[in-house]
């Protein structure tokens, strides 16, 4: 235990910690802050967000056919309110426009003055009801057509599965697509940040000994070559620490997006155009992403530990880590974290890639350990 603490201690110095801060700051500024500050992004997304939350409060995570009738009634009531508002606007009344329907359909060229007025009502005064109605209409549009959208989806070619998918109760789940997209964007950038940080910290684990010429001394102590295993534990503990700290901070920040109402909603939501393989809730999806990030962090730590032992200089270490980092980043952005379980890729590809990466990490380490025990330390 003491040895492991010493090994962890050696990984962190002020230069490394400074580099982590710098990298995190850059990532926050470039890739993360936007998704916190502009979520949901403007109108009517904000109205949509508010309304779906109200729906969940009223109907639960799913909206069945009966509840949908209720939703339509609410919509009509809101339309009535909008009618009254339109009728109360003299300029529109004079032009013969007295209903929301007319207001909505009214288009520019015929009367530019009135057109300006419409824009003013919507964009300047930001009369809520017009935005909200727009959001409600899009919800209704999606709810009514999700079956057709499913049937024409090019990713689903298994008829049986298609039926199962359509008949699933979860197809009525209320979960706006931008909620998932927002989280997915954030967590994949955080995942990349974690992978890079683990590379920066853990990659030094053996090469510091080589560079300081300490291996001859270490390997002749009682601990001896077993130090390789202790260092591996130190690497994994470090990776866990880095991942936990980053994720902890991330979820603190993510809390401000206030999406917890959707935690119980399924990924099969009628709101989606993109589809997911698994009927899991948003919360389970978050957990799956977190597990994915931890696994990637361990794989990165394993590969970094291995490379750190087999390269001879910092330059070749960086040289060999760059392609690995690039591949991991691409995989994360493609399907390991972003679009995790998305129908664009076979679900077995995601799971298979994770297993494959873990196997590679385990294989290089066990290969090296076998060699480490019998190698001449020259």
């Amino acid at each position: 235990m003491r040895i492991i603490l010493y090994e962890i201690g050696k990984l962190f110095n002020w230069k490394v910690i400074g580099l982590l801060f710098l990298l995190s700051f850059l990532f926050y500024q470039l890739f993360l802050s936007f998704h916190f500050e502009y979520f949901p992004n403007g109108r009517p997304a904000g109205d949509h967000f508010k309304i779906t939350k109200q729906m969940i409060a009223k109907y639960g995570p799913e909206m069945n056919k009966k509840e949908y009738e209720n939703f339509k009634k609410t919509y009509e009531k809101e339309v009535n309110k909008a009618d009254k508002y339109v009728a109360s606007q003299e300029e529109f009344a004079n032009a013969g426009i007295t209903t929301y329907e007319g207001f909505k359909k009214f288009d520019r060229p015929s009367n530019p003055e009135l057109d300006n007025l419409k824009a003013e009502i919507i964009f300047k005064k930001e009369i809520d009801i017009f935005w909200e109605l727009q959001a409600r209409e899009s919800i209704m549009e999606r709810y009514e057509h999700f079956e057709e959208r499913t049937l024409t989806n090019r990713y689903i070619d298994n008829e049986e599965w298609k039926k199962e998918y359509l008949n699933s109760e979860s197809r009525h789940s209320i979960l706006p697509d931008y909620v998932i997209a927002n989280f997915s964007n954030l967590i994949s950038m955080v995942g990349i940040l974690i992978v890079l940080s683990v590379i920066i910290v853990v990659s030094r684990i053996h090469i510091i000994e080589y560079q300081n010429n300490a291996i001859t001394l270490q390997y002749t102590t009682m601990e001896g070559r077993n130090l390789f295993k202790k260092k591996l534990v130190a690497a994994m503990v470090t990776a866990t620490m880095i991942t936990t700290v980053y994720l902890g901070i991330f979820f603190q920040l993510y809390a401000q997006n206030e999406t917890s109402e959707f935690f119980a909603s399924s990924l099969f939501s009628f709101e989606f155009n993109g589809h997911y393989w698994l009927d899991i809730t948003f919360f389970q999806y978050i957990i799956a992403s977190v597990v994915g990030v931890y696994l990637l962090s361990f794989v990165t730590a394993a590969i970094s530990t291995y490379l750190s032992r087999v390269v001879w200089s910092y330059i070749s270490l960086i040289g060999s880590q760059i392609p690995i980092a690039v591949v991991l980043i691409l995989l994360i952005k493609e399907y390991l974290i972003t679009r995790m379980f998305g129908m664009q890729y076979p679900v077995y590809l995601t799971i298979g890639t994770y297993i494959g990466l873990l196997l590679i990490g385990g294989a290089v380490l066990s290969f090296r350990w076998k060699k480490e025990r019998i190698i001449d330390i020259v």
Partner: protein, 295 residues
């Protein structure tokens, strides 16, 4: 007892050591050979860093690879170039190595205080190692080798980089440590081992040439070492004729110390007692690595 039995070491096609058979009992052994002779190779096999290509190394009858950590537990080693972390203090550094040596924290603390005092570093325990001189670092190295009170202490050129004063100090220290253990110390500097080693091991042509006490080794040259004065003008021809191992200039004369096997000797020659240095120079006279060295 530590035994090397028919040990050979090859690096690829290159043979560094061949058929080395040696026995070590308690006492100080000086491994004396010029650069590149294979001292480090031999030592690295004794400390389990290199594995013999052929042969075996036994400690109390068991192969040291089988003994594994049991063997390393009684081992103290100072590598030829030893590594340290420049931002560590000697105390932290020694605590780390004590942990690797499986020592209890409190035992280690006590031992470290004791050892730092022994090597005269008790006043700089909290200074960073990067501020240490070469001699101080070397003393830290000796302290770390002694941490676990080893039964076998192996030092690879421990005096390289030390000034004469530090060397003398080091020899004194070794005498203190010499009880009840095997100490093997490699060097190519004769004076390092001359006064302290019980036995000298010399390696030549990848093999052990001698393993004997200094007195016995010096007997090889008994009656063959002479000193004489030669006119400076004749120095050149004298050098060509005899194997000079030392010369000193005094006014217009040179005093030569030289080796000869001639029976008919000049009455002006004074027979002197051979020293270890004489033997060293004699043995390695045709060794390329010695060319250009001054005596």
């Amino acid at each position: 007892m530590l035994v090397m039995n028919q040990v050979s070491k090859k690096f690829g096609n290159f043979t560094a050591l061949k058929d080395v058979t040696l026995e070590f009992d308690n006492g100080i052994y000086g491994l004396l050979a010029p650069n590149g002779a294979g001292k480090t190779t031999m030592i690295k096999m004794l400390v389990t860093l290199l594995f013999p290509t052929n042969g075996e190394i036994l400690y109390d009858g068991t192969d040291i690879t089988t003994l594994d950590e049991e063997y390393r537990n009684v081992l103290g080693y100072l590598p030829q170039e030893f590594g340290y972390y420049k931002n560590y203090t000697p105390e932290k550094y020694l605590m780390y190595l004590a942990a690797l040596k499986g020592m209890e924290k409190n035992t280690a603390k006590q031992k470290i205080t004791e050892l730092l005092k022994l090597v005269g570093l008790e006043n700089v325990t909290n200074k960073k190692l990067k501020k240490f001189s070469g001699g101080m670092i070397q003393r830290v190295g000796i302290a770390q080798a002694m941490l676990n009170d080893p039964k076998i202490l192996i030092l690879d050129e421990p005096t390289s980089g030390l000034d004469p004063k530090e060397r003398a100090r080091f020899r004194k220290l070794l005498n203190v440590l010499a009880q009840d253990r095997i100490i093997i110390l490699s060097t190519h500097i004769v004076s390092d081992v001359e006064s302290i080693a019980n036995q000298i091991i010399m390696i030549k042509d990848k093999k052990v040439l001698y393993k004997d006490s200094i007195t016995n080794i010096c007997e090889i040259l008994e009656g063959k070492i002479y000193e004489t004065e030669v006119e400076i003008a004749n120095a050149e021809s004298f050098r060509a004729k005899y194997f000079s191992i030392g010369e000193r200039q005094e006014r217009d004369q040179m005093t030569f110390r030289f080796i000869t096997e001639e029976k008919a000797i000049d009455p002006a020659w004074r027979n002197v007692r051979p020293s270890l240095e004489d033997v060293f120079l004699y043995i390695y006279q045709d060794d390329a690595t010695l060319a250009g060295s001054t005596v």
